[in-house]
Symmetry: C2
Subunit: 357 residues, 2 copies
Amino acid sequence: MNLLLAQQQRKNHMRKILALAEGRFSPLKSKTANGALAYLPNEVVAIVDSTKAGMTARDVLGYGGAVPVVASIEEGMAYGPDSLLIGIAPPGGRLPDEWRQWILSALRNGMNILSGLHTILSDDAEFSLVAEECGCTITDWRKIPFEYEVVAKGHWRTRTAKTILTVGSDCNIGKMTTMLEVYKEFRVRGLSSDFVGTGQTGIMISGKGIAVDAAISDYIAGSIEKAIDESAAEGHAYIFVEGQGALTHQGYSGVTYGLMHGTMPDAMILCHQPTRTHDDYGMAIPDLHRLIRLHEEVISIFRSTKVVGIGINSIGLTDDESARAADAIEDATGLPAVDAFRFGGAKLADALVSYLT
Amino acid sequence: MNLLLAQQQRKNHMRKILALAEGRFSPLKSKTANGALAYLPNEVVAIVDSTKAGMTARDVLGYGGAVPVVASIEEGMAYGPDSLLIGIAPPGGRLPDEWRQWILSALRNGMNILSGLHTILSDDAEFSLVAEECGCTITDWRKIPFEYEVVAKGHWRTRTAKTILTVGSDCNIGKMTTMLEVYKEFRVRGLSSDFVGTGQTGIMISGKGIAVDAAISDYIAGSIEKAIDESAAEGHAYIFVEGQGALTHQGYSGVTYGLMHGTMPDAMILCHQPTRTHDDYGMAIPDLHRLIRLHEEVISIFRSTKVVGIGINSIGLTDDESARAADAIEDATGLPAVDAFRFGGAKLADALVSYLT
């Protein structure tokens, strides 16, 4: 796991982030904090979770090095943070009442707020006032700028850059991570590439993108099309778009479908966790063949595109088990499969280069 | 075309509506005004469109009776309106600047505002102030009440009411109208039925529903699930849900997909206009067999459901031509097909009753 190359190009200054993950710091429940630890390792100074205080990020996640877990924001101040990251996303993204005091405390301690919540913190009168008094900023990754509230125009038909999208057999399964690893690999190979985030963590890491799950639903496709247009205008040959949700997840499937049609990808990578049998509705994860067919079918109305590889999330497995799971999936689907977070993005990059060129 | 039975039960008082359709009053471009003329004929007093002043609704649409078209809001005042309906929806639903003066003028003339625009008029400081000064109300059908901003919970698995959803081969093709006609027929037959609107026109007519295209995209499925839950709690056996957009329309397909998964219908009716060959992106309307398969496939992950009939929009055709088009579609698909707006909802109601019972 290397520092994301893009980080050096990112327009944001290097931040000193205290990541709030109270009660939920863990491999699966603190997605934004974990993304920061994995891809912005030089920016995270501490994690707040009183239930794991005294541990390190590596103790909890298996990565993230010696970044300490502390019991409170006050305790985290000892590490000199300049930003409080709301590092966990409650279901639906709403702001729990008890967090209000934590955010005010952070502002009063001179920290900027970085938030991916559906509740737009900068629209809150008290937060805005206190931020102004304290000379701090509030960044809401889920606030959709007005100019992105547009209906899709169909620009994919004239676009020359190739777009690659991750899709998944469920939500929260590794779509961002897989895409970041493949994107890194493309950059290592000297291929002109860009990463467009579609959720708070991806946007935090890359410094660009649009939180499509917060877009008004008429504008899902249009907002990501505009973000891709902007990336294409910068001259990139390959545009990697972070996937969101899942076509087979009842709650968020509309986001996924709109994102697929807004991206109109030249190629897809399907992300899958071999050990996950059911989603959070208790529904069995569908068969991979069926998922591949479904994802190709819903784009095929517009254009022919393929799932060209499987990105595996092998959390909880040993390296050997992960490799065997990948082999089994390769045998079953005929597609290259790998845990790119663990073993790097080369195998999937090979498949993409082969398919797209 | 009969007055919708539900109208008598609707909680709204009988309104006297002046419908604004400036420059766009026509069979296809003034959807909300046309819906009011078709289903709330006793509530519309005049239409504003200076380009067609002096004509009647029937002259322009073929229905709507002697309701006059007038050149301006001021001229419309002679007909005693108490409400100004924003009867046309610009692409994306934004408020054109020139409409601001019309709305202010209507408020100052004592009219309530009924709006389905994406721009929430009641959030506008000037409109709110003038409305308050004038003792008028502003109704924004696209303002999603906070309690509908929820992620879908999967309630379809325990629901006993049957849900029926219209889907379409394109946007603006007759999904609301077809569903209203079938719903009316179910009521005529004494079947306990409800109509849940999902767009401004459907909500205006039925007095209930949620404008799903204005929901934050994470909540598309959850918002309609909640609206259906409320209808089910009233004890209805059949819940007719107005369709939105199209799975094959690049701009709005995410809305459609989320609405399908939020409704998780027991049966679907596919709406189609035989004379329409291309959508507004210039894309050929897909083959009906393929559309039927696609709509069934994307629900089949969760449950088995069928397209049980085809609702035809035969605008521009004679009655004979419409009937012949229906016959051709029946031969091709093996499904009952009819223009329910023209010939009534009986044939599609028969198919639904047969499939659902």
